[in-house]
């Protein structure tokens, strides 16, 4: 039997969920014996080269590029997991949702104490930059998501448990204390 194939990505997250995957420590060496990694920052594969079994998504969508990548993952993965608070509900970046993008840009580039020399009031607006969305969207509002792993980040044990459950077809143990924002 061929190995199950896993892909991962970080959208509008902080990479903490990927770090938590690495926090399975020695088990990472077992994991790479058991599965094959495709598109993921953990290896160096940057575009999908085949259909994958499991896609792990960190982060929500804050710009047009995040949306494209998420749709690409849905197309190429049989099972999609929202991993961590940002993917599940926007997380900390979604704290900007009550505020206009203009106000956020103004604060960062015009009003701060170290941009007083920006007298020409320059804002980043080049064609090369992807468009910022009006708000930060959780992944399941963009595509269908099959499973949700809570935590900020989900603990290494939880991520490991989820992968083992999926790969062996067994029920996953979700004790109440992990189902929270932290």
């Amino acid at each position: 039997m061929s190995k199950p194939i896993i892909a991962t990505t970080s959208l509008a997250g902080c990479f903490g969920c990927h770090m938590s995957i690495l926090d399975i420590d020695e088990k990472i060496l077992d994991l790479i014996e058991l599965v094959e990694f495709n598109k993921s920052p953990i290896d160096d594969i940057k575009t999908f080269t085949k259909q994958c079994d499991i896609g792990i998504i960190e982060g929500g969508c804050c710009n047009s590029e995040n949306v494209h990548i998420l749709q690409d993952f849905r197309k190429n993965c049989k099972i999609l997991i929202s991993c961590g608070e940002c993917a599940i509900m926007g997380g900390l970046p979604a704290m900007r949702n009550g505020i206009s993008v203009e106000e956020c840009l103004k604060e960062a580039y015009l009003d701060g104490p170290t941009v007083t020399t920006n007298t020409e009031k320059i804002l980043p607006n080049d064609d090369e930059l992807p468009m910022i969305l009006n708000k930060v969207y959780p992944c399941h509002e963009i595509v269908k998501i099959d499973y949700f792993l809570p935590g900020c980040p989900p603990t290494a044990e939880l991520i490991w448990g989820a992968l083992v459950a999926l790969l062996t077809g067994s029920e996953m143990n979700l004790p109440y204390e992990v189902v929270k924002f932290d």
Binding site: E26, L92, L129
Partner: protein, 483 residues
């Protein structure tokens, strides 16, 4: 309820890092740009939050070195609650935070070396990317992979014991710390079975350094010359000039070692540093105000720190520092790839600091928090793994944040990374009309040397997906490649 999301028609690759190259009429490189395409808006949306939330909120900028943000924000809040800067805390508070920070330095530097750089060294910079990655290392050099995993784990466990969690902990609070280190926790690190103990980590750090030095010896031409250019260097140093990653005064030297910022108090950092905004990147371009936009840019991180400090206050790292300094005859080191060497000397230093700190009985003290007279403004600086990190907050009488200004480490390296890309483009692209594979590799190698925390400033783990676009003198796109 329906939701409308506008999506651009052109699909782009996952391009957190994006490079454009413009050629002149003779197909020589006229202009290069490294675009950073992510924007969060932290400065605005933390406004209105109570000040004590900042250390736990703002660290969520970055899951790769959250401890740096956690501590920089806590240091700013120390000032706000009247606990003074850096050294004002109780011995337990101060030392627990130091232990947390050096734990993070150790794990982050180990991650960078073993997970991101070692594949290039082991397989060669031009090897098939399908093998040239950490999984390839694990499959073909298992001993080294185990070592990398265990070193990172050791640092992460130190963070958990001091901050409560490995990622996004809560240990540092305004004016101090919320726990001490129990004897049991201490002995977990000091007396663990080999290899999981502090002494073993020092030895492994020495081993990693030897591995790099061996590679350097065999590849001196490449390591010494690749993207080598002069620059200013900036970091915190301890008051007596020692390397200090947690606290100090702000110092900058020019490419020849002349002090251009002389050990100033960082509470007034904004008098010395400004940031330029450019239309083509969300990442700003910091510079020393006294020198100006054109020439005032500087480098931060391991290379800069070993250029600004006078000595390293632990014996093994100091010995390595002397060898390192002798290579440039005591002058500042401006060789891009020597960043890896400097980073490994800091890894060794961090292992020594952790080992020595663990033996300090102050960690078992129970006087954890200092209180003082509250004020409404505070600045916290720290040497994060990737360089100097600035946090600056103002609060109102209701204890709500009214202003936040952050200059993250990688932002400080914005101009140097752009110069590095320019250097590589000129060396490899002049006269060419298409982007070659060696060119793509070279751009990636130069950016990776800075270990850009692409989470703080953008995203993606060291090995960022790159899109390179080539334009002719009429701004017409003539080639685009993804890596």
């Amino acid at each position: 309820m329906t939701k409308k999301i506008t999506i651009e028609p052109v699909t782009r690759v996952e391009g957190h890092g994006k490079v454009t190259i413009h050629l002149d009429d003779n197909f020589n490189v006229a202009q290069t740009r490294l675009h950073i395409v992510e924007f969060r808006g932290f400065e605005r949306f933390v406004q209105g939050k109570p000040y004590w939330e900042a250390p736990v909120l703002v660290q969520r900028l970055c899951g790769i070195c959250p401890v740096s943000h956690h501590l920089a924000a806590a240091k700013a809040m120390d000032v706000i609650v009247g606990a003074g800067t850096g050294e004002g805390l109780t011995p337990t508070g101060k030392k627990m935070r130091r232990l947390m920070h050096y734990g993070q330095m150790f794990q982050s530097h180990s991650l960078h070396f073993f997970h991101l750089v070692s594949p290039d060294l082991l397989f060669g910079y031009d090897a098939n990317p399908g093998i040239r990655n950490v999984i390839g290392v694990a499959l073909e050099h298992k001993d080294l992979a185990v070592q990398g995993v265990m070193m990172r784990k050791f640092g992460q466990e130190v963070i958990k014991a001091t901050a409560g969690k490995k990622i996004h902990g809560t240990g540092a609070i305004p004016g101090g710390i919320n726990k001490n280190l129990s004897i049991q926790e201490r002995d977990f690190f000091l007396k663990g079975a080999d290899p999981f103990n502090a002494d073993y980590m020092v030895n492994w750090a020495l081993g990693a350094l030897e591995f790099f030095k061996g590679y350097h010896k065999a590849n001196a031409q490449f390591i010494d010359n690749f993207s080598h250019f002069p620059s200013n260097h900036l970091s915190l140093v301890r008051k007596d000039g020692a390397l200090d990653l947690y606290h100090g005064v702000l110092r900058a030297v020019d490419h020849e070692g002349k002090k251009i910022l002389n050990d100033v108090d960082y509470q007034e950092y904004y008098k010395y540093i400004q940031e330029e905004v450019r239309t083509w990147s969300y990442m700003k371009f910091p510079f020393l105000t006294s020198i100006g936009k054109e020439n005032g840019w500087y480098r931060v991180g391991p290379l800069a720190r070993l250029n600004t400090c006078d000595f390293i206050p632990t014996p093994l790292a100091q010995k390595e520092f002397e060898v390192y300094k002798a290579y440039t005859k005591g002058k500042p080191n401006n060789m891009c790839m020597h960043m890896h060497w400097a980073r490994l000397i800091e890894t060794l230093h961090s292992a020594e600091v952790i080992r020595d700190l663990l033996k300090d009985p102050d960690l078992q003290g129970d006087n954890l928090v200092v209180k003082g007279k509250k004020c409404n403004e505070g600045v916290g600086l720290i040497e994060a793994p990737r360089g100097t990190l600035f946090h600056h907050y103002k609060i109102d009488d209701n204890d709500q944040i009214t202003m936040a200004n952050l200059i993250v480490s990688t932002t400080n390296n914005n101009q140097p990374m752009n110069n590095g890309v320019n250097f590589v483009a000129k060396a490899m692209m002049n006269g060419k009309k298409e982007i070659t594979e060696p060119m793509m590799n070279a751009v990636e190698v130069v950016i990776r040397a800075y270990d850009p925390c692409l989470s703080c400033a953008t995203h993606a783990l060291g090995k960022m997906p790159l899109e390179i676009s080539l334009y002719d003198s009429n701004d017409k796109l003539i080639d685009r490649k993804n890596k």
